[in-house]
């Protein structure tokens, strides 16, 4: 018996019970589609996050208070403006080019009835230089704004759109930040894609203004993050060492027990991708459960099919079918069921990925779900495997039927 004939016979058998076969296939379709769609969305998120991290610049370090690599760290000292100042010392930290202290908070921004919640960054004039920001119109935060504690703001393009409905001709408008009036002095050029905390959905205000009016911390000179720019991309690791040394001695830390963390771009990328990996595996795992349920559906229907066709099995055995012949007949049938399910599932997953991509794009999130060949292969193999695995026991039962009893059944 050749396999093509078996295949055609399986199709004929399945099509004689169309509704039942379709419902069984549906279980696999949903399982496969869910698995692929989840993997695709996960990979899309991963791509988008790493793109946005890379777009900030590669010779950048982030310093923040606290260190999860040190056990029993009690009361880490906050970072201060003086810490940032010390990092720019040419003698003790020659590889550091600029250090930009940042206060970061979340708040409501409004303009004549329109309101949005956004991140508020208190920055110095160095911030734009360190993170490679440009204004699409107007100007950025300057040293003069810092000294005068001016109530001015540079707004991100998403904020501009949600408050004003446009992204140009905004300089001179007055917006309210946490209820206080701020004059718009510039609009940030779009950074494009982003995952969490969009680069375009934030406003910048002078650090001094933020300290005194918007983002209150325990002490006036406390900052949340210091962005450090190394002299060039090659001196990033050297700059890390210098930052650790300078701040470690300022905070009186033992070596290796610093109460702050220094991260570079690569660290952040790998943290982000490990988070999205966990997320993808988690989502894929949940989706895989539905594939498992689909597989059990196949097993169930194969048992029904074997029981229904006991007489046919008896006849086939009477005219000379061996165990293997019967086994293959039913295995081909269950594999055909799950393969058809797998193929339809791939198409459905492609549809879901497209729709999710559209929805994400429409709501301003840049996630492009990507279906790649490896996922399709994985899903196809997996669904065929499901068919064989869950078809195995019913097929074995069919193959082991005794011809005498099978022929006697009604």
């Amino acid at each position: 018996m050749n396999i093509l004939h078996q295949f055609l016979e399986a199709l004929r058998g399945l099509s004689s019970n169309k509704l039942r076969s379709m419902l069984t296939v549906l279980g696999i379709v949903i399982g496969v589609a869910a698995v692929i769609a989840m993997l695709a969305i996960g990979r899309g998120a991963q791509n988008s996050i790493s793109n946005s991290i890379e777009s900030i610049g590669t010779n950048l370090l982030y310093v923040y208070s606290g260190n999860r690599n040190v056990e029993n760290l009690i009361n880490p000292k906050p970072l201060t403006l003086n810490d940032a100042q010390a990092l720019t010392d040419l003698v003790s930290a020659p590889s550091v080019f600029r250090a930009a202290p940042v206060l970061q908070g979340q708040g409501d921004v409004s303009y004549s009835g329109e309101s949005t919640n956004t991140s508020i960054l208190g920055v110095t004039s160095d911030f734009a230089l360190v993170t490679n920001l440009k204004a699409s119109e107007g100007e950025l935060i300057s040293d003069q704004h810092i000294t005068s504690r001016a109530a001015v703001a540079v707004i991100g393009i998403d904020v501009a759109k949600s408050l004003f409905g446009r992204s140009d001709n905004l300089v001179g408008e007055t917006i309210r930040v946490e209820g206080q009036p701020f004059r718009v002095i510039g609009v940030l050029e779009s950074k494009g894609g982003s995952g969490f905390g969009s680069e375009d959905n934030r406003i910048l205000v002078p650090l001094t203004t933020a300290q005194s009016r918007l983002i209150k911390r325990a002490s006036l000179d406390q900052v949340d993050t210091i962005y450090v720019q190394a002299v060039d991309a090659n001196s990033v690791s050297k700059a890390m060492e210098e930052v650790t040394q300078v701040l470690g001695s300022r905070h009186h830390n033992e070596v290796g027990k610093e109460d702050f963390s220094v991260l570079n771009q690569q660290d952040i990328l790998s943290i982000a991708s490990s988070i999205t990996n966990v997320l993808t595996i988690f989502l894929g795992g949940i989706a895989a459960i539905s594939l498992l349920v689909g597989g059990i559906g196949i097993m169930n229907i194969m048992f029904v099919s074997v029981t229904e066709r006991t007489r046919e099995i008896g006849l086939r055995k009477a005219v000379g079918a061996r165990k293997l012949d019967i086994m293959i007949q039913f295995l081909v049938e269950s594999s055909v069921l799950s393969l058809i399910g797998g193929l339809i599932g791939i198409l459905l997953a492609w549809g879901i990925a497209t729709v999710v991509g559209r929805i994400a794009a429409a709501s301003g999130v840049d996630i492009r779900p990507t279906i790649q060949l490896d996922m399709v292969l994985l899903a196809t193999l997996f669904s065929a495997g499901v068919g064989i695995f869950f078809g195995f026991y019913p097929s074995l039962r069919a193959a082991n039927l005794q011809p005498v009893e099978a022929l006697r059944s009604e």
Binding site: H5, R12, R311, V319, G320
Partner: protein
């Protein structure tokens, strides 16, 4: 070509039904010559179905020897028995047992597909012509009358040129006219092809058309006429 095609020595078959041991056959010895037409008769419970299962190699005896066409098949494995059935035994059932979804032609081809021979189509065609169904090859069983369906089953039984044909109440589901036609067909195939035919029946009018009747009672051969 004459000679012994079936020889059984002291066939015993016991099986369990729950906790009760049923002695279905208690030592059956018989010989059947090639080309004979034989009826196996007996009241229900006499063991005639069990004997047919053993002679058709659908089952193995508990003890005793069974030699079919010169080969001792009493203790072969399931797969070996399947091959013996495929090559040496043709089955005709009371309820035809045709595959409902495929044509007459494909039903007749079925044994050939498990035997790995070539020219399926040609041999199936010849078998269907031999039973007078040359114009019904593409029909499905549901499109055929009972008598025609049984002819398809006969064609299926003889497509592999078996040593014996086992017919279990072949006319039991047919009206008397179709039943007579089927019997005539079996008898003429016997005459033309020297085919050995074993018919299990409890209909005396069928048995009277055969050359010899083996009567079973309580798992033993009662008399050999």
């Amino acid at each position: 070509m004459n000679g012994i095609v079936i020889e059984s020595k002291n066939l015993v078959k016991n099986y369990r039904m729950g906790k009760i041991l049923v002695e279905a056959l208690r030592g059956v010895s018989l010989e059947i010559q090639r080309g004979e037409v034989i009826a196996i008769m007996g009241p229900s419970g006499s063991g005639k179905s069990t004997l047919m299962n053993l002679l058709g190699c659908l089952d193995r005896p508990t003890s005793g020897e069974y030699i079919l066409d010169g080969e001792n098949v009493s203790r072969l494995s399931d797969n070996k028995l399947a091959m013996i059935r495929n090559r040496k035994v043709g089955f005709i059932f009371q309820s035809f047992n045709l595959l409902p979804r495929v044509s007459a032609m494909e039903n007749v081809e079925l044994p050939l597909r498990y035997s790995g021979v070539n020219h399926h189509r040609q041999r199936a065609q010849q078998a269907l012509e031999a039973v007078g169904l040359a114009d019904r090859m593409k029909h499905r069983p549901s499109e055929l009358s009972g008598g025609e369906q049984q002819r398809v089953a006969i064609a299926r039984a003889l497509v592999n040129n078996p040593a014996i044909v086992m017919a279990d109440e072949p006319t039991g589901n047919l009206d008397s006219k179709s039943g007579r036609e089927i019997m005539d067909l079996l008898l003429s195939l016997n005459r033309e092809r020297q085919m050995t035919v074993i018919i299990v029946t409890h209909d005396p009018s069928i048995a009277s058309q055969t050359q010899r009747v083996i009567r079973l009672r309580d798992g033993l051969v009662e008399e050999a006429a």
